[in-house]
């Protein structure tokens, strides 16, 4: 493993721990602040400084991890399950159904992800879960297209022919042979989409469609810090740096999947 990859895994592990046991990393409350300590610059007492009502920004970033990570998990799960299912069906059944599914995928790809997410949000209304689902719907097309191309490739291999030849039923062969052998690139895309989802969720949070204040969601944190641009640079810069680092780590890990040397 290369140093960059080790660093990426370390960062993702750290952020996952923030989400699971935030209390270990910070003693401050993310919601209740100390007004006397408002707008302190980053320093030994407050690693990331404090905001306008005296809340510790590092505590808010740590407690916010659970919102971004769980949202990204839901989004990737929606995209992975729906997309892989569509791709598997299209790639193995072929014929007219394949044509229809792939034209639907074309349509989904022709609308930018953010607009697709906004369409879902206008339908379902704002909220953390809805934002995650909306982001997931935006990635269905990429998953479907990749899964289909993999399934078409695997179906032509000798061992699948052999499995059919030795009397395997259609669904059983799909489940036991085609699906597992098509998954590696799909998993790599899932890792990449995890970073993309964190980015998209923070964007929608910034636009105000996600969590309600005072939830410490990362996009919302940056949005709230916008009012103190001239005086408190840390309120926007530091949470944003965390988002960039997590997304970079996810894309680095994604590139290493399916490659022996990492």
């Amino acid at each position: 493993m290369r140093p960059g990859l080790i660093l990426s895994w370390a960062l993702i592990t750290l952020v996952a721990l923030w989400a699971l046991v935030p209390g270990v990393f910070t003693g401050y409350d993310p919601i209740a602040g100390t007004p006397a300590e408002k707008l302190r610059a980053p320093g030994p007492g407050h690693l990331f400084g404090t905001d306008a009502v005296g809340r510790d920004l590092f505590a808010r970033v740590v407690h916010g991890a659970v919102h971004s990570l769980s949202g990204a998990f839901v989004a990737v799960a929606v995209g992975l399950l729906l997309g892989t299912l569509l791709g598997l069906v299209a790639g193995s059944v072929r014929g007219a159904l394949d044509e229809i599914v792939m034209r639907v995928v074309d349509v989904l790809l022709s609308v930018p992800g953010l607009l697709l997410a906004l369409t879902v949000i206008i339908l379902l209304g704002p909220g953390t879960v809805n934002v995650a689902v909306a982001v997931g719907v935006g990635s269905v097309a990429s998953f479907a297209r990749l899964a289909r191309s993999e399934v078409v490739r695997v179906r032509r291999t000798d061992y699948v022919e052999a499995a059919f030849g030795s009397g395997g039923r259609f669904a059983a062969v799909l489940w036991r042979h085609v699906l597992p052998n098509s998954l590696v690139p799909v998993v790599a895309l899932a890792a990449l989409q995890f970073g993309v989802a964190i980015l998209a969720i923070s964007t929608l949070g910034f636009l105000g469609y996600g969590a309600e204040p005072p939830t410490p969601e990362w996009g919302l944190l940056i949005s709230e810090g916008r009012n103190y641009l001239a005086t408190a640079w840390w309120l926007t810069t530091l949470p944003g740096t965390v988002v960039v680092a997590v997304v970079l780590a996810a894309s680095r890990i994604s590139r290493s999947i399916g490659r022996e040397d990492g």
Partner: protein, 312 residues
């Protein structure tokens, strides 16, 4: 010639089909499902409207009855996108107000993105310092990992508040456009730079390059005449695909910088659950995306003589 005419026709037909499907899907999702904008706006008990009156409003907006779909589709073909439920004005009017500003922002940003991408890709392919090369190769994945809204905020912070180079309010048109264009261009440049750098490397590894060099061609001639020309088609494809991101990015950029345009209109439409406006924006975005990629597809045989024979 009839072969390439047939190719052109079939690609154009596919594009029309995708657009029709995008419109229909958007229409079904945004106009037919319950809980639409008309209910949200007029169901308020304070207005004291009876269900009959709401039905009347619905027919006024043309969102009711079996003929509504056809009515709306024909309207879209004529450039009539219905009425905004939020303001009551024609959607086409609101779009026309926002389009010039967004086109200027997105067009300039795209040009800058291409410049950045070409600079990064050529520099990373031609530097002999391996450290610099590694750093340049990491640039695209860094650019694509930066949230656009955050980049905009950081740029305002640095250039407006710290260095005081760009005024926050007022300033010349160029000054106003500078930071939004940079915000929009950075994420767009990433995929273009990545594909261009990879294509340049692949083309340079092909056997015809040493042959041309052995015949006495200068490095500059090889680069422009042979390597860059062969690396262009895949880069063009990716550049076409970024047009969708350009439209989505302008939603964020215009919101961060408080600029008026189609992006801002989209954000306001979502806040007000103004479905006719969002439907028009979605169809507009799909149209731009499909048309740009159709042009890219049709350019392929022009750029690569080998494809001309395959098409014909």
């Amino acid at each position: 010639m009839s072969g390439s005419a047939r190719y052109l026709l079939s690609r154009a037909g596919q594009a029309v089909l995708v657009l029709w499907a995008a419109f229909t899907a958007g229409y079904v999702l945004l106009q037919l499902l319950p809980g639409d904008a008309i209910l949200i706006k007029f169901q308020n008990p304070e207005l004291g409207l009876s269900p009959e009156q709401i039905a009347e409003i619905r027919s006024y907006y043309g969102t009711d009855g079996p003929g509504a779909y056809l009515h709306t589709l024909l309207g879209f073909l004529r450039g009539d996108f219905g009425y905004s439920i939020d303001t009551g004005t024609p959607v086409a009017e609101r779009l026309a107000e926002g389009l010039p500003a967004t086109a200027k922002l997105a067009g300039t940003a795209f040009a800058l993105a291409v410049l950045i991408a070409v600079a990064v890709a050529f520099a990373s392919c031609h530097t002999r310092l391996s450290r610099l090369r590694g750093a340049l190769q990491a640039v695209p994945s860094l650019f694509v990992s930066v949230p656009a809204f955050w980049l905009g905020i950081v740029l305002i912070q640095v250039f407006s508040f710290r260095l005081r180079l760009v005024p926050v309010i007022g300033g010349s048109e160029v000054q106003q456009l500078l930071l939004p264009v940079l915000t929009l261009a950075v994420p767009i440049s990433a995929p273009i730079a990545q594909i261009l750098a990879r294509s340049l490397d692949q083309v340079r590894a092909q056997p015809f390059v040493p042959v041309v060099a052995a015949k006495g061609a200068s490095p500059g001639w090889i680069l422009w005449r042979h390597v860059a020309r062969n690396a262009l088609p895949p880069t063009l494809t990716v550049a076409g695909l970024t047009f969708g991101e350009l439209i989505a990015g302008s939603v964020v950029t215009e919101t961060v910088f408080g600029r008026n345009g189609v992006g801002r209109l989209t954000e306001q439409a979502v806040n007000a659950q103004d479905t006719p406006v969002l439907l028009a924006v979605v169809v507009l975005a799909a149209t731009v995306f499909v048309l740009v990629n159709l042009v890219v597809d049709l350019l392929y045989p022009v750029l690569d003589p080998r494809l001309r024979r395959a098409v014909a």
